[in-house]
Symmetry: C2
Subunit: 388 residues, 2 copies
């Protein structure tokens, strides 16, 4: 058994909503295919992976550094020890040869796309959904078939802002979401308070509303916002300041009784360890959002979970960034707290397939093999194009 | 006045020595040219920059993200407020549009190549060496014309190791170097001690020998090595462990009386700030090696210097990684402690031009405009090829 070809392509993220504060249209994703010499129903079995959403495709790093390193190894070297699949950790090690320590940025996304494709391939070789492969491989004892999911969005609208925010969240509620995350920090605190009150009216209570500052606050602004939102007993206050400003995070936590969430912009277990050492994150309370698709893949992500547990945190505190099928399987397979969704945006990479079931704020994958990316209608043609 | 074209090319690093522990042959560099509409002696004035040495070219990030952003702005937007040159900080801001916080890795090198080219261009427009432009721009009062430089190398050799190490350092001494840096950590401590004793015999005293572990030690190994080398009163002990393991660095410093050097693998002012907050670095004693060519360029590097000074450190504690003409001008222009050299390796990017004067362990640039890269014989043809 061997991998006969590795291909990558840059995908534009369409379906962006034009009036959000971030220009989603500029973000791209690397889609990677690991083509095996095994066949199912007359077609080669192919593993697909991508580097999550919200950053950029990494074709340059894949083509210039990682793929040439993988092309040099003998195919057997990539096999798992039981011979039933491929060793994602070994693949990652080879792809990272001659890379220095530190500098966990773009290359962490490039490797992730490759490494995640290996997990998709392994699950397909076993003919099972990826979350089952992950549970077996990492020894996760977990029998639930669905996990909590919340709808992220809650954008700013230039006109008729509160009404449109309300419409947006009501739409999510109609689809089946019960918890929501909305943006804060783009205007005055009073405006954000009105937005939070609007959201709570729809959700029913503050514990179903998280707020996301996207790292925009300095220390004082973060403290001011925390004081203003404290009475609402919100689900969490996300990324108050620069993701590497561990002092800011710790100082905020010391003066805020609600949960704080961060980590989507930390791309290695050493960066995550520093958050645990210096960021003041509280056991069983604060939320970790590291995203395997931006952070070297599942092998590294699992070592982040081990680090969390070494510090006494629980993996249920983890809600990875990136609302898509890969992180649904990761969250369900590794026993995390839940996952997110960005309904309607980041297409064709973001979101879930119609075969996934979304009910009462919980989501379950279908029984499609691997991550089930083939069931995503707008993504399927791109998968075919990459392989054919 | 405007920039009419921006070009980039990947340069292979030749002249690698085959028996060093790092495979220099695999490392590449992005060379960037900012071509202006101004002329000197009938030829366009062009600014050149590159992303230092020891990592990789960043053509993908430049072509796919940064150059398209710069292509969209009106040319006047890039002019400095006095109209005499281009604003490197504005250029950097535009090239980083839509980039999220955190993840300071490959893109920091991509931007650096661009940003450094703007400084080369500005100095050429003024007809002066870049260090003078930097002094004026940043208000650095400094009149010296040369700075301390040491020869880095001290490789492991498979056979006749001590004799060959000795020959290597004697060769550096013949060229004009007085201080040396040698590798440690690849074998047993006793072997490294013999190597250090050999080096001291040539240099005359421990204070002229630095040792570089390239981040290979865990906490206990770093402490063991520190205890073993303490009696030699070495110049510094460089990068004992993972560059982001601030606890390891602080613990080492607490038990080691000599200087510790680190930072070459920290690529942003926030990462550098975390080193100062958590790494235990001692005022006036430990050494910072952040490299503008790997860390978003001189604008960001200067903000790192301001952060250092905010913490009470002195910029004389800075000896940037990367022995080449750009960092010679940066070190001399910003009043740093000195720079390094890797004689014979990392060509054609590494090293100094023959017009630089190296005497008694100090180096001075020539009076060529900009960084004087055109005077580097093996680099000059590549500069011409990129522009013509």
């Amino acid at each position: 058994m061997r991998i006969v070809d590795i291909r990558e392509v840059t995908i534009d993220l369409n379906g962006a909503i034009s009036n959000a504060i971030i220009n989603f249209n500029k973000h791209t994703v690397s889609l990677v295919a690991l083509i095996s010499d095994q066949f199912s129903e007359g077609k080669p079995i192919v593993g697909f992976g991508f580097n999550s959403i919200g950053r950029f495709a990494q074709g340059g790093i894949l083509r210039e550094r990682m793929l040439p390193r993988l092309a040099k190894v003998t195919p057997e070297h990539l096999l798992s020890s039981d011979g039933c699949g491929f060793d994602a950790g070994v693949l990652a090690q080879i792809a990272m040869k001659d890379e220095k320590p530190g500098g966990h940025g773009d290359r962490a996304g490039a490797l992730a796309a490759l490494e995640l494709a290996a997990w998709d391939l392994n699950a397909k070789l076993l003919g099972e959904p990826a979350y089952k492969t992950l549970r077996r491989y990492f020894g996760v004892v977990e029998s639930v078939e669905s996990i909590p999911v919340y709808a992220a969005g809650g954008y700013y609208y230039p006109k008729d802002s509160l009404k449109r925010l309300s419409d947006e969240l009501l739409n999510y509620q109609d689809i089946g979401y019960r918890s929501f995350k909305i943006k804060i920090g783009a205007g005055e605190i009073t405006e954000d308070i009105s937005r939070i009150e609007t959201a709570i009216t729809i959700a029913g209570c503050g514990s179903k509303i998280a707020v996301d500052a996207n790292g925009c606050f300095d220390q004082q602004q973060a403290l001011d916002m925390a004081a203003a939102i404290e009475p609402f007993k919100l689900r969490w206050f996300e990324e108050p300041g620069d993701p590497l400003d561990f002092d800011l995070n710790r100082n905020l936590i010391e003066s805020y009784s609600g949960s704080v969430a961060t980590g989507e912009n930390l791309f290695s277990s050493m960066d995550a360890r520093n958050l645990m050492r210096f960021g003041g994150m509280r056991l069983g309370k604060d939320i970790f959002q590291m995203d395997p698709g931006l952070a070297y893949g599942i092998t590294e992500y699992h070592s982040i979970l081990e680090t969390l547990e070494e510090f006494g945190h629980q993996r249920k505190q983890c809600h990875p960034h990136g609302g898509h099928l890969i992180n649904l399987h990761v969250a369900l397979g590794l026993g995390l707290g839940g996952c997110e969704a960005y309904p309607g945006v980041f297409q064709p990479i973001g979101g879930y397939s119609s075969q996934c079931s979304l009910e009462n704020g919980r989501i379950a994958p279908s029984d499609a093999p691997g991550f089930g990316l083939e069931q995503k209608q707008d993504l399927y043609p791109l998968l075919c194009e990459l392989v054919n």
